[in-house]
Structures are given as C-alpha cells and as structure tokens.
C-alpha cells in the first residue's frame, strides 16, 4: 500500500457558503517579555493536525492589515508550532482557503492571540 493522500479540486460554480469554526484561545503570561500561547479547539495544543482547513484558527496569526504572518516574537509560540502554523497558512493560501493580502473580514473580531503591539510595548518604557 502506498501513502494515503487527500486532494482538493475546485470547479467552476455559483453561490456562497461560509464555513465557520469555533475557536477559543488562552494566553498565559509567564515572563514579562514572552508568553506561551495555548490554543484550544476542543482538544489540546499538540493535537493540531490538518490545520490548513481551519482558516479561523490560522487567521489569528495573520496581520489584519497586510495579511502577513506574525513572527515568533509576536505570536509567542515554540519553534515547532510556529513552523507548523506557517506551513499550514501557506498551504491554505495556495489552495484557495485563505486570502493572502489581507485577513478575512469575518474573522476580524476574533479574540487577540498575538501580541501585535510588540513594538509599542518595547518602546513604551521610553515614553513619558
């Protein structure tokens, strides 16, 4: 037996149907500069396989203005998970699940998982 594989084909058609996922996220600050991110989607953080379809989860790690993937210093993930998330985001973008240049407007009101104000936080000690 060879490897199993999943394939997605996109054919011409009409109509819209949005697929929504339930996502909950929790941030536990351990160190003032770093924070580990545990995200729960009904199961624990290390069971996140087949991410590329979970667009709402992936869109939490993407900038709403440019659509760029946040770095590890902003998301606070460990190396392995950051790599997995990046790969899943790129895969979802290429396969046509997730937009590239922006964040899907339906997911703009999600709970903020990433420390997107990192630079301001660093410079805030110099402000008076």
């Amino acid at each position: 037996m060879g490897t199993t594989a999943a394939m997605v084909t996109v054919c011409g058609g009409l109509g819209r149907k949005k697929v929504t996922h339930l996502v909950t996220a929790a941030i536990s600050p351990t160190h003032p500069r770093t924070h580990t991110v545990l995200w729960r989607r009904g199961f624990s953080q290390y069971k996140q396989i087949s991410n590329y379809k979970k667009v709402q989860l992936l869109a939490q790690f993407v900038s709403p203005f440019t659509g760029g993937i946040y770095g590890r210093y902003i998301t606070g993930l460990c190396v392995k998970k950051q790599k997995e998330i990046t790969k899943a985001i790129k895969r979802a973008q290429i396969m046509g699940f997730m937009p590239v240049t922006h964040k899907d407007p339906a997911y703009l009101k999600d709970p903020k998982v990433c420390n997107s104000r990192y630079r301001e936080q660093l410079l805030s000690c110099y402000h008076r």
Binding site: T4, V10, K53, C78, G96
Partner: protein, 112 residues
C-alpha cells in the same frame, strides 16, 4: 448540484482509479467565494466549489494525477497532500528555557 460539476468530479475520480487509487471518501466543502481572484485556463474565477477526496494510492501516481488536474479545464486549482491523520503526533514540550549565559562566548577551539 450542477451537472457539469458532477461530471467533472466523476472524471477526476475515474482518472484516480485508472491510476490505481482506492477512493475512500468524497466530501463537498461547499460552494463559496474564492478568497482572491484565481485565473486558470484563460479565465478568471471569483467563486467555486470545494471538494475533498480521500484516497489510497501508490506514490508514483501523484505526479501523473497533478498533470491530469492541471489539464482539466473544469478544475481551477487541484492539490494533493499527504493525509494528515497518517502523520504521527509528536508531544510538544512547550518553550524550553535556554541558558543564554553559556551561549554568550563561543566555545570554538581557536588556533593559537
């Protein structure tokens, strides 16, 4: 479901089976607006139907299947990925604290 999409699906599954694949499951992920405008076969598309096919196949057929999908005019973008459930789950220990004082000076042996 439009008859053209049904015919296209049937064609792709038959092509899969011709190459010796065993189709396990076919899922319809719905017809929705594409996240960005995709141009394929001299046409631009703004919406499409998403379908997911689970199948077992030898690794050699992946290339020929991708070739077939790129030639099919009804398929906007076809992808083949490894089945995610076959991947082993590795335990993630989380962020391991690294002793940065040891990394401050290089321990390489320098030629005197």
């Amino acid at each position: 479901m439009k008859p053209e999409t049904a015919a296209a699906l049937k064609r792709t599954i038959e092509a899969l089976m011709d190459r010796g694949a065993i189709v396990r499951n076919l899922e319809n992920l719905g017809e929705r607006a594409l996240p960005y405008r995709i141009s394929a076969h001299n046409q631009q598309y703004n919406s499409g139907g998403y379908f997911l096919v689970d199948f077992y196949s030898p690794t050699t057929t992946v290339e020929s299947m991708l070739n077939h999908l790129s030639r099919d005019t009804d398929v906007i973008r076809g992808n083949i990925v490894k089945h995610p459930l076959t991947q082993e789950l590795k335990e993630c220990e989380g962020i391991v604290p690294v002793p940065l004082e040891e990394k401050l000076y290089s321990t390489k042996k320098r030629r005197k």
